[in-house]
């Protein structure tokens, strides 16, 4: 499961896969920078804030790792998140079930179902329709976004019952053994994702399809099925992110999840997954998502950068991190 980390421990330096270590090295460097910049950066409260709010992008990016490893791309994840959140909140407001815990549980199941269905739609249109995933998901991105706006009538969709709201709130704000619940969600999703990608036949098929589709087909791999399932996994990951997102503000608006697709793809690429497919690194993706969130956090905590220039500095750090990673991989 912990393959990259274990390989660091158990093999000689010369055999270490530097490409897999690089994102963690970049993350460590950023943590050091943060400590230097602000004394409050390393406080437990701050770190748990940052970890907790990286949960959405990290979870979605695990799904994106599958899609991208198989040579696809999904631009619809941000809109899909808003759409799934909208459906889920409307169901919760419907109040079909008396018991709030049961109602929330069913809401979660519904979210997973809707997410998987959205993913399936993306997947089937891409594979059976033989259309570039870029185009398909660009289309569904607009569709999901408009559907949310329509469901919300342009406003916001809010959990109406305050009772329900407080019953659901702990899923984002609560903790187990002192660690916020979303952190366990990240770890759980990543562990399952890593298991599927590295330890199952399906995972190896995903990588094979991504590195060379023709060869994979001649080897008897059902390329259509493998690709379609990556989109379904992506949909499920979006739904899990939504399950953690909804209790935070108890609402969704038509701006929910705006640009999440770009953040997820950035996290995947920073993590060492190849954008053209064929190489997937789940734990690297998690590091990538944390890097994005930590950069933002450091920017706000420090007084070094003017609020007008934050975007430029963030962009520069991402590019530098990628350059460092490339040069590390080349020295192998």
């Amino acid at each position: 499961m912990n393959e990259p980390i274990q390989s660091v421990r158990s093999s000689l330096w010369s055999r270490v896969d530097l490409g897999a270590v690089a994102p963690f090295a970049a993350l460590a460097a950023l943590l050091l920078l943060g400590t230097l910049v602000s004394p409050r950066f390393m406080s437990v409260d701050n770190l748990s804030n940052v970890l907790t709010r990286s949960a959405f992008i990290a979870t979605i990016a695990v799904g994106a790792t599958f899609v991208i490893t198989a040579g696809g791309l999904d631009l619809s994840v941000g809109s899909m998140a808003a759409f799934v959140a909208g459906i889920m909140i409307l169901f919760l407001n419907g109040g079909l079930i008396e018991n709030p815990v049961l109602l929330i549980a069913f809401g979660m199941i519904l979210a997973l179902f809707v997410g998987a269905l959205c993913g399936l739609a993306n997947g089937l249109t891409t594979t059976l329709g033989r259309i570039e995933p870029f185009i398909v998901t660009l289309g569904t991105m607009g569709i999901f976004r408009s559907l949310v706006t329509w469901l919300a009538q342009g406003g916001s969709i809010v959990i109406k019952s305050s009772e329900l709201r407080s019953a659901y709130r702990p899923v984002y704000f609560g903790d187990v053994f002192g660690a916020p619940i979303p952190i366990f969600v990240i770890l759980g999703v990543a562990a399952i994702g890593a298991f599927i990608l590295y330890r199952t036949a399906y995972g190896r098929h995903v990588t094979a399809v991504g590195s060379n589709e023709e060869v994979a087909r001649y080897s008897g791999i059902n390329v259509t099925r493998v690709r379609t399932i990556t989109f379904v996994l992506q949909g499920l990951c979006v739904a899990i992110a939504v399950i953690v997102y909804v209790p935070r503000l108890g609402s969704t608006t038509s701006t929910t999840g705006l640009l999440w697709e770009l953040q997820a793809i950035t996290a995947v690429v920073i993590g060492g997954t190849r954008l053209r497919g064929g190489v997937g690194r789940i734990w690297g993706t998690i590091a990538g998502a944390l890097i994005l969130e930590v950069i933002g956090n450091i920017m706000v905590l420090s007084d070094l950068v003017s609020e007008y220039l934050i975007g430029a500095v963030q962009g520069a750090i991402i590019v530098i991190a990628m350059l460092a990673q490339r040069s590390l991989s080349r020295t192998r």
């Binding site: 409050r40 804030n49 709010r53 342009g154 406003g155 608006t253 701006t255």
Partner: protein, 314 residues
């Protein structure tokens, strides 16, 4: 008193003319952005409601409301409206620079032009301009913060997007607190988004041990700011000042929530005002040309019920 009497007289005039022109067919076209966020959602709501009300009030008047998702679509919508034949146009342009020429074209066909919220580059096109007051929104918020904190305190500011509206508000706010001992200890962009505002506020709370008040100029962001404060269990923050007049926030003011003592109005219902004045001018032939700038009224517990629109999505 004389003003009041004059007002009643004008109202009587409008009503009288309205009845007199019952047979006359007049059409007002309303072109607004589609509901892409909370505020524009409110615009759509108020425009459709007002259209119904006006058609009832003035028999023979037709009001067509068209929403467009972007500037190009709005330019097309304007052409369609012109083809249908309109006597007046009420327009809230996506991007005023981009739509100046299409609106000029409508004008050349003889329609009365009312521009809402976003002024055109060429101000000679409009017959009537109806808008909220962005600098005043900053000024009113600053005056309240100054008074409530007794002229001394540390506050944080969460801004919108880096566009002129935001700049006008923030400059006026800074101008407003000048000379007092109120210090803006931090300021960041929250992009008028709940999620971004939540993150920024979490980080502000980590960074600053003591914050007296938050000014975030927008009610959507205020929702997130309140949630972040609640999570951190901080008690040093005395209040949060948002803006716009979202119904959930107005409700909080009305209910006397100590964290949300006031709101500053920048209401999407301005589109209804624009339609109403346009209709009065069109049907009643009274002089309404000019600028109609709505005050950024301070919503307090006392007057909150006047600004609470229960059925509006925003």
């Amino acid at each position: 008193m004389r003003k009041l009497l004059a007002g009643i007289a004008v109202l009587g005039l409008i009503a009288g003319v309205g009845a007199a022109s019952a047979q006359q067919k007049l059409t007002i076209g309303v072109s607004i952005p589609a509901a892409d966020h909370g505020w524009t959602g409110g615009v759509v709501f108020h425009a459709t409601e007002e259209a119904k009300a006006l058609e009832k009030q003035y028999p023979g008047l037709k009001v067509i409301v068209k929403t467009s998702p972007d500037g190009a679509a709005q330019a097309n919508a304007l052409e369609d409206l012109t083809t249908q034949g309109i006597d007046a146009l009420v327009v809230l342009p996506h991007n005023p620079d981009e739509l100046t020429d299409p609106i000029r074209k409508v004008k050349s066909k003889g329609a009365f032009i009312t521009v809402v919220d976003r002024a055109l580059r060429d101000r000679s096109i409009e017959d009537l301009y109806v808008a909220g007051n962005n600098p005043e929104l900053g000024r009113v918020a600053a005056a309240y913060v100054k008074e409530k904190l007794g002229g001394k305190g540390d506050i944080v500011v969460i801004r919108g997007l880096p566009i002129p509206i935001d700049e006008q508000r923030v400059n006026a706010f800074n101008e407003g607190i000048k000379g007092s001992d109120i210090k803006v200890i931090d300021s960041q962009f929250g992009n008028w988004s709940r999620d971004d505002a939540f993150k920024v506020m979490q980080d502000f709370l980590t960074k600053h041990a003591k914050i007296d008040a938050v000014w975030c100029q927008d009610d959507d962001m205020a929702v997130a700011v309140l949630e972040a404060i609640k999570q951190a269990k901080r008690t040093d923050i005395k209040f949060v000042v948002g803006g716009a007049g979202m119904k959930d926030m107005v409700k909080k003011v009305m209910d006397g929530d100590p964290m949300v003592p006031v709101d500053v109005l920048y209401s999407p219902s301005m589109v209804a005002v624009a339609m109403d004045v346009t209709a009065a001018g069109l049907v009643g032939h009274i002089p309404v040309r000019g600028s109609y700038i709505l005050n950024a009224t301070l919503v307090t517990k006392e007057n909150a019920k006047d600004f609470y629109f229960k059925d509006s999505p925003f």
